[in-house]
């Protein structure tokens, strides 16, 4: 998940990267070579926080009607939190598998841009890349980008990836088992975990008017089309808020509005 002052507060499987800031507790990273122990400590800190939200995923997925095996396969093979939450949410709402997967896929596209930055910093041999790719997510990017040199970048990426992968899958399993044990997840308020996770991921992204306008338009589109379009489709319609806001902004710039041009450039 994505850069602001409180990015560090968000500990879901989709935390955004922010170069130059420590991933834990918001302390700035000291430049220069870092001891391996400090890098590993960052990785473990992120891993523990995220591992716990894997529990929320396991519970949510079970509450959405997926079997324990399906829930665990998602965490093992998809391994990007927002997409997983979105997929089980769409399936629970009765969406067909294609629209449900499309929403999850579009949420996952940001990982391509993380990979782009990481491939320059990690400088991995080509044959390693298919293996490293599975771990290219918000948190590994956040930790890797915060490191000052290639050695600690590689260590940070690997240690975070390993910690997260183990904890995320273990806690998913525990969450799925826990949900079966407690029965009606809604009675425990666990149906609010999904939207709360999305909101926590979204909040640090709302830095400029452009992002707030996009979010506002997406909410309107997502709710307005919900009663009239098949399940899973309204969220894809809401995704059009992003190109629409950019298009409106581009039109204002072409009209020669110097003020909006400067503010648009500042957003990049």
């Amino acid at each position: 998940m994505t850069a602001s002052e409180d990015r560090d507060q968000v500990g879901g499987l989709d935390r955004g990267p922010e170069r130059g800031r420590g991933p834990v507790g918001g302390s700035p990273v000291v430049s220069g070579a870092r001891p391996d122990r400090a890098v590993v400590r960052d990785a473990l800190g992120v891993g523990v926080a995220v591992g716990l939200s894997g529990f929320a995923f396991g519970v949510t997925s079970a509450g959405a009607g997926l079997t324990l095996l399906q829930t665990c396969v998602l965490s093992l093979l998809v391994f990007t939190g927002a997409s997983q939450f979105a997929l089980v949410g769409a399936l629970a709402a009765g969406g067909n598998p294609f629209t449900a997967a499309a929403g999850a896929f579009f949420l996952g596209t940001r990982n391509a841009f993380y990979g782009l930055r990481l491939s320059q910093l990690l400088a991995l041999p080509r044959w390693v890349r298919p293996f490293a790719a599975h771990w290219v997510i918000d948190e590994t990017t956040a930790v890797a980008l915060a490191q000052p040199d290639q050695r600690s970048t590689r260590l940070g990426f690997t240690a975070t990836g390993l910690t997260l992968y183990l904890l995320w899958n273990l806690t998913t399993l525990l969450g799925g088992l826990g949900a079966e044990a407690i029965g009606d997840t809604a009675a425990w308020g666990l149906d609010a975990a999904g939207p709360a996770v999305f909101l926590a991921l979204l909040a640090p992204m709302l830095r400029t008017a452009t992002e707030r306008a996009t979010a506002g338009l997406a909410v309107v589109l997502g709710l307005a089309f919900l009663p009239v379009l098949p399940a899973g489709v309204p969220v894809l319609v809401a995704a059009l808020a992003a190109p629409l806001v950019l298009w409106f902004q581009g039109r204002r710039i072409r009209r020669g509005d110097a003020t909006s041009e400067t503010s648009a450039k500042r957003d990049v």
Partner: protein, 102 residues
Amino acid sequence: MNVWIAIGLTAAGCYLVKLAGLLVPADTLERPLVQRLAALLPVALLAALTAQQTFAVGSTLTVDARVAGVAAAALALVLRAPFLVVVGAAVAVTAVVRALGG
């Protein structure tokens, strides 16, 4: 079966976009418009998902205990609470409001 199709498509799609980032030449995705669209897409999706999962029951809109829970999460975010407190507040408040008959 449908669930397995969705899982397969999502797993394949999400893996391939991760791999694409590591394999494509750096300048391909570095056009400013592509970058800005990529940054805004998650904003739109997360906002819509938050709203839908707060207000939707199937294909109808409703106001129930989840609204109080998500409002509590929003308050926790404003107060810069850690991620787990945010999610915990949403779950706890929803459960309490529902137990009270909300």
